[in-house]
Amino acid sequence: MLNRYPLWKNLLILAVIGLAFVFAMPNLYAPDPAVQISGESSAMELDQAVLDRATKALEEAGIEHFGETVNPKNALIRLHSSDDQLPAKRTIQRALGDSFVVALNMASTTPDWLRSLGAGPMKLGLDLSGGVHFLMEVDTASAIAKRQESSLTEFKSKLREERIRYVSVEFTEAGAIEGVFRSAEDRDAAAAIFRKEFQDLTRESVDNEDGTFTVKATFSETAIREIENYAVQQNLTTLRNRVNELGVSEPIVQRQGRNRIVVELPGVQDTAEAKRVIGKTANLEFRLEAKPSDLVTNKESFEFRSELDQRRFGNAELERALIISGDHVSGAQSSFDPETNQPQVNINLDSAGGTKMHRATRSNVGRRMGVLFIEYKTRLDRTTNAAGEEVVTPRQIVEKKVISLATIQSALGVQFRITGLDNVAEASELALLLRSGALAAPMYFVEERTIGPSLGAENIAVGVLSVQIAFALVLIFMLAYYKVFGIAANIALAVNVVLLAACMSMLGATLTLPGIAGIVLTVGMAVDANVLIFSRIKEELANGLPTQSAINAGYERAFTTILDANITTLIVAVILYAIGTGPVKGFAVTLSLGILTSMFTAIMVSRMIANFIYGGRNVKKVWI
């Protein structure tokens, strides 16, 4: 029989619609403004006592709160209004002290049964939720240079180990390592070292006319790409750790392109604090104090970090060779020295670092060991090029200063502490930097955006309002123009919006303002498929086809048109998604999902409704 779906098909469509409603539902529950408390280090556990202290402070300050929860990792206190968030944060921070991180958060109010199904609300983009956006560029060139330099040093020491004599070993302009030898045998032995130890280098041997012999090793394009990738990846991990330390809910730390990293911190308003923590590039080096008898080439002179120490002691002389660097640090906590009540940092090393530290300190008890704090800073140099354009080039400055110079009392192992820090804040910052790991290459900020929370709320209000008005107008128009079929189209359209919301929630797509624009546009364009079908039905009726056949022909014949038209648009949307960033991407996501869902609703859902109304009966006249 024409225009009847089999039962299974109807049930299937209804099931999809039902699921869509369930998964779209969490978006109806507005999240509560909240304050989140977490320990300063990930090892720290929170308990009821901490929460009680925080709530007591809030009560004293007269800030209303409810729905407190605590688990070992963090505590959450819900507030009635987002205006209370900042005062509440300040109050709690003052009450708990610096060993806790207090951050603004939005607490989900999705009922448990929905959450147990894995349903959650759509994530809101920064433009809707407020927060900061940073774009950072990793200076991969310096990572490559560092790697090349270390290869050069390593190669030289290998040559010395193997007792191969060389005329010169140095860098060429093109970034190759060039070794010049007196005999072909020496050169070939050196080439063998390259082959064995430096497999990512491509070698080339030349017999020079002046009787010397050269081997030249260059980093291949793939090797350089690998170094770059490693540097960006390592920085990404480090940044993630640092951002986690900030206690922000749902941060985004993402690689973008070849050497850029995007950091988005929803809810964060204090840009300076965020920048200080994530932008910091620091490392430590542990070195023995040089003996007065040491050769000048083996020692280096450094200033103290604290001005007081600098005035008291003057520069410190340290050995050039380092015992270990900060890369071997696996854990660090700030605390107080029980005897002097001075701030200190307790350090844990990994096993390789522990072994090296033990070996170096065992034979040097009584000597002093210096802890060197290394900070990479970026200066932007401005020059004008030949074309008269201003060119900004980032320049790295390395600052090395001594934090502490302490006598080694006994052999150190995997655990020891650093004293000599100025204050608690410095101790906790150093601990944080050591914990969150070292950066493989320096980074600098390319872009910064802050969006206020009230502006975000305004954006949402504006977006929702325009969706509602547009939606209502389209519904009225369709009903007036297509009458009974207008009902089918309108139900399909409503299902389409729900389905779109469900898809976005399930995929964890982020809703942005351009995304809302995409939804609005989808609403406008989603009727197209139905319009195609209905105008076809009208045509077929005018051609004299009986009603049931006309309806059937309308849906059947319009199908290929809908398919071709939507696939071409989908191609554009997918390409947009692939190349786009930020707003373009947000728009592309909603547009492409919207095309898919509108195809389903316009073809299947609308037909199902048309079937319910007209299908399987003897209909004289279709009201269209």
Binding site: L455, V527, K538, N543, V572
Partner: protein, 306 residues
């Protein structure tokens, strides 16, 4: 609707060609002479949003800031009389928002609130501009391949040429009016590509369907019949989309105004081009019945000979 009445769209072919040519010429000319007024997304710079207690005096803000030594300052109302958006080409540094605010509060009686400080790096803009351009080209190539595969190469060429026509005219519109061209406008233009393509394909689909079945011999007649048949749908869809965009333009706030105006222009142009430009081009490429006849076996053809 009378089904046998065919509107002679292609009767005005020449006028349409002339009209399109004029629009294109004007757009390209303006693009060459004026260029596009690239927003901060592309040029890089600082964007500060402040809220005054009373109606803000834009002229005063402008003079205050230029006296303070800022260059290329653009001051506009943003949403309401109290909200002001200040844009300038300035390099990023910490605390710049507060600095601007200090200059403003010095000459203003009431309270001024700093709502947003945004810095956009120029390099990013350049990269995105290149990416956007390459992306658009790539999209066109893929679309062309798809249409050539599903239809026939003449359709692919006509569809893509019509698209280029639309994009150039929308760009020209922005160039002539000097409206800020930012990323959301770029997104809108890409949406225009999607929409106009959608429209063109619907018309082409009908032409493809009609060629083998209609007994008309003249291609122009087939195109006219197809356009008439799809006119109802073309107008309804453009209508609903325009309703939505007008709402977006009116209520979507300043942030979406560029987006919605680009799309409004794009959809009007896209609708016009799917009727007059795409089909016109198809005729220009000398599309004939044989282009769309399903390949028939030689024997069958002989059998039908009288």
């Amino acid at each position: 609707m009378e089904s046998n009445k065919v509107i002679n769209f292609m009767g005005t072919r020449l006028i349409a060609t002339l009209f399109s040519a004029l629009l294109l010429l004007g757009s390209v000319g303006s693009l060459v002479v004026n260029g596009l007024n690239f927003g901060l997304d592309f040029t890089g710079g600082l964007q500060v949003e402040v809220e005054y207690e009373h109606k803000a005096d834009l002229e005063q803000i402008r003079s205050t800031l230029s006296e303070a030594g800022y260059v290329n300052v653009v001051v506009v109302n943003f949403g309401s009389d109290e909200d002001v958006l200040i844009r300038m080409q300035l390099d990023f540094k910490d605390g710049i928002g507060e600095e601007v605010l200090r200059h403003l509060t010095a000459v203003e009686e009431g309270e001024i609130t700093l709502k947003r400080v945004e810095y956009v790096g120029p390099q990013v803009g350049e990269e995105l501009r290149d990416q956007g351009g390459i992306g658009m080209l790539f999209a066109l190539v893929v679309v062309m391949a798809y249409v050539a595969m599903r239809f026939q190469w003449k359709f692919a060429v006509a569809a893509v040429a019509a698209l280029a026509h639309d994009v150039i005219i929308v760009l020209g519109f922005f160039s002539i009016l000097g409206v800020g061209f930012d990323l959301s406008v770029l997104a809108a233009i890409l949406a225009v590509v999607g929409y106009s393509l959608n429209d063109t394909i619907v018309v082409f689909d009908r032409i493809r369907e009609n060629f083998p079945v209609l007994r008309k011999t003249e291609s122009v007649d087939v195109v006219n019949v197809s356009l008439t048949q799809t006119l109802d749908r073309t107008l309804v869809t453009s209508g609903t989309t325009l309703i939505v965009l007008v709402v977006l333009y009116m209520y979507g706030g300043e942030l979406l105004s560029g987006f919605s105006s680009a799309l409004l222009v794009g959809i009007v142009i896209g609708t016009y081009s799917s009727i007059y430009v795409a089909s016109n081009l198809l005729l220009g490429l000398n599309i004939v019945k044989e282009d769309l006849m399903p390949p028939v076996k030689e024997g069958a053809e002989v059998d039908e000979m009288p």
